[in-house]
Symmetry: C2
Subunit: 476 residues, 2 copies
């Protein structure tokens, strides 16, 4: 290991408490983007973060996403940062977000969600909203900057930062910004992107993430009668929208998860031996999900289970709007119902291709019903899948850095979920993205009692810094 890196690591060790204190300051700012009343707090958090960057020598720019015709509440800014301009070293773009999910103590927190509570247990759980998602990882980079600035160590790479304040609310405004001139200027010369916004697969072993599933989310509305009817009066006389919708939803997926839409798997490549080896190497046991899934797994074999989560499409039904949803025994025939389901996409499926197959399938099945009801298909949202190339330098650097800091080869994982910004950035900048998680699978990112282990925060800070050094040693 190079001496500058050693100095960096020593600084981190010596300043753990200050780092935790700073995370406490960040958690205390209630930057809940989903709550209009708290939107000013998100802006405050952006300002705070910009100040941190400036303190450690980073040039910043605050991007106002608001336009005159935009409704209240105002959008918080994107905070851009730039440090280093050497043509001889690689340039990493760091993406993170400074807004958080909502949290009320009554949701099940034992402590004030916006007061970081460090527990006296071996890993030092630090409980507070945003600790793991995503203030901890963002502050990991601030820690890296501080360590170098205070130790007067030059950074081994050029860094660019892009911190947004709307990630938990659909990243409003980000896409437009990425398409604009300012982004082009600020992100010119970027060679790779590093995002720390997911977690390890288990609480035990660090992970490097090289893939995400995409998604298409649907709302299928079936309507018939003018108003809700009484089943005593009209049962048997009418085509019932709920029955028709349930027939449609029943044609989508089998209980064992097999998707029944024709041709849906045509674009999904076969599992290669190399890939299989990656899944076999992953440290994963049934007990890691037992608390959540109980006995409902479709298989208890590791590789089929992991590939079902990470590399194959899946289709889940979420619910029905407009029908009876309480436990009152009402004999209503709902006149208009909307079923919601989503399909997770994987390479090489495309949003447009899958959407076409699903529409075709639904129209065919609806025609079979010979009903007088009407069907309307709405694509509520979508995001493409993403797959990185694990043989590329950023992944090698991430692997080596993890081995250095944790003494373990990381799990190479793909997430079953979607982080749309990853795909946006990868597509727009045409560079490699690596997801380098800081937290563990049990952090409870969107749940109550969200935590980040102190050990993950400190080692995670070292990991991010070391990643820079490892990547700077690679030829890219």
């Amino acid at each position: 290991m190079t001496p500058p890196c050693k100095t960096f690591l020593a600084y981190v060790d010596a300043h753990q408490d200050e780092f935790v204190n700073r995370l406490g300051q960040a958690v205390a700012i209630q930057s809940v983007s989903g709550d209009p009343k708290l939107r000013p707090k998100v802006v405050e958090m952006g300002n705070w973060l910009e100040q941190q960057l400036k303190t450690y020598g980073v040039e910043t720019q605050k991007i106002d996403l608001n336009t005159d015709d935009m409704a209240e509440p105002k959008l918080p800014p994107i905070i851009l940062g730039k440090i280093g301009d050497s043509p001889d070293v690689t340039t990493i773009l760091v993406y993170g977000h400074y807004d958080v999910q909502p949290a009320k103590k009554s949701d099940g927190w034992d402590t004030d969600p916006f007061e970081l509570k460090v527990m006296p247990d071996p890993d030092g759980r630090m409980i507070g909203r945003g600790s793991s998602d995503d203030k901890g990882p963002v502050l990991g980079w601030i820690n890296v900057l501080e360590a170098h600035h205070q130790s007067k160590l030059p950074l081994p790479v050029n860094l660019r930062f892009c911190f947004e304040g709307m990630e938990e609310s659909g990243s409003t405004g980000l896409e437009k910004f990425l398409d604009g001139e300012i982004a082009k200027t600020w992100f010119a010369g970027v060679n790779s992107i590093c995002i720390s916004d997911n977690t390890w697969l288990t609480p035990r072993k660090p992970a490097v993430t090289y893939g995400l599933r995409g998604i298409i989310y649907y709302a299928i509305t079936v309507s018939g009668p003018i108003k809700d009817l009484h089943s005593g009066e009209f049962g048997g006389m009418v085509h019932e929208p709920l029955g028709d919708l349930i027939h449609l939803l029943g044609t989508l997926v089998r209980s064992d998860g097999k998707i029944l839409i024709p041709k849906i798997n045509d674009q999904v490549p076969l599992l290669t031996d190399e890939e299989k080896a990656l899944y076999e190497a992953i440290d994963f046991e049934i007990k890691d999900v037992k608390d959540a899934v109980g006995d409902s797994l479709v298989t208890t074999c590791k590789v089929p289970l992991l590939t079902r989560r990470m590399r194959y499409p899946s289709l889940s039904l979420h619910g029905i709007e407009g029908a009876l949803s309480s436990n009152e025994p009402l004999t209503v025939i709902p006149h208009k119902v909307t079923g919601r389901f989503s399909i997770r996409l994987v390479p090489n499926q495309t949003v447009d291709g899958v959407h076409q197959l699903i529409c075709e399938h639904l129209r065919n099945e609806f025609a079979k019903l010979k009903t007088q009801c009407k069907m309307c298909i709405t694509k509520v949202g979508d995001g493409a899948p993403w797959l990185g190339d694990v043989t590329k330098p950023p992944f090698k650097a991430a692997k080596q850095a993890t081995e250095d800091i944790y003494g373990k080869t990381p799990d190479f994982t793909r997430e079953g979920g979607s982080i749309p910004v990853t795909v946006s950035l990868a597509n727009k900048l045409h560079v490699d993205v690596v997801l380098l998680p800081m937290g563990r699978s049990d952090d409870g990112a969107h749940s109550f009692k969200e935590k980040l282990d102190k050990s993950n925060f400190i080692k995670g800070t070292k990991l991010l810094g070391t990643y820079m050094y490892k990547l700077s040693e690679q030829n890219i």
Copy 2:
């Protein structure tokens, strides 16, 4: 027509305004049995009604349904009445209820729901909660009693009254009362029962109702994972309860209403020519239901449509509890969901027989899913179907009375819905029941702006009285 009947009719004509005023007094008492806070008003209404009966020479008894171990709020009493004890004439039991559905002006009423508003239109709509269901019909009998009492006319039959105050809330306590000693004594010698608690099939033509469908209401719970899961994390790994439930619900009924449960129609008799003639004679047009059903009818032919409503079973899906029911695009995999559906029964189907077929079917279909999820079938409630014999004297009397008062032969109808007390009374007393509706199909009994036309109230009063005379002339 006999002279006493003429005197009766003349009295009714001469006292229309007083009758309407009395209905106004009854409507003003907010006897909403479903609202615990208004339960004392139900009791007040019971007392008011008992006083009316006493005023016109009826012996009464107030039956307290409360027992020491019963929770608040207290049940309102059953009001029993008895007038006439001649062994030479027939004895009619009149059933009615003095409680009403809830009503708030904000539900869509233009007027105070508890202030009877008589409109200056040709039929004299009288708008107010309970006007049609069931205070109008109950007061129809009070009018009959008053007319005879004040005119010193002897009644042509013995009358017994059973007025309950919990009909809109499941008739709590009634069944137990009917099984007890007091009922046996009070209802000894009853030859037939008359109930006015439904409406004509259309706004145009009076009806006599000789059948009701029964019902079994189901809640089918499917559970799997320990808690709700995120479809990104777990989609594809687990058997999803909502998918399984939707497969089950999809096996129950076809879009055109055909019930798919094996053997379900085995007990349903074929339509006879006599029956078909009854349906053909009914004054019914598609436009009578067009405002409610739009274009969703499974057929536009009158007889198939009416028989689907009245004489064949039907199965309707009502909704799902425990799944996403809002329009938020959440990617949840619900861990436990309950589907609700009900089946309407007809003679000669039995609750037990149909229940067995449904359980068998659901278990077979569930087994086919090969799922790890668990299913639980709950029968939430049930009621047997009822069918009267239209060749019996009460129906002949009802027909003749209608022809006399309205100058029209009534539609002989069966209701698609259920009035459980009808079946209870018929089964317990082993006598004929006739349903002799007072209101029209557009009265909006359980809706806002409930009304009874003044013409129906006055002619309905005449109808009930004339029915007594007609029945007294028959040999039963």
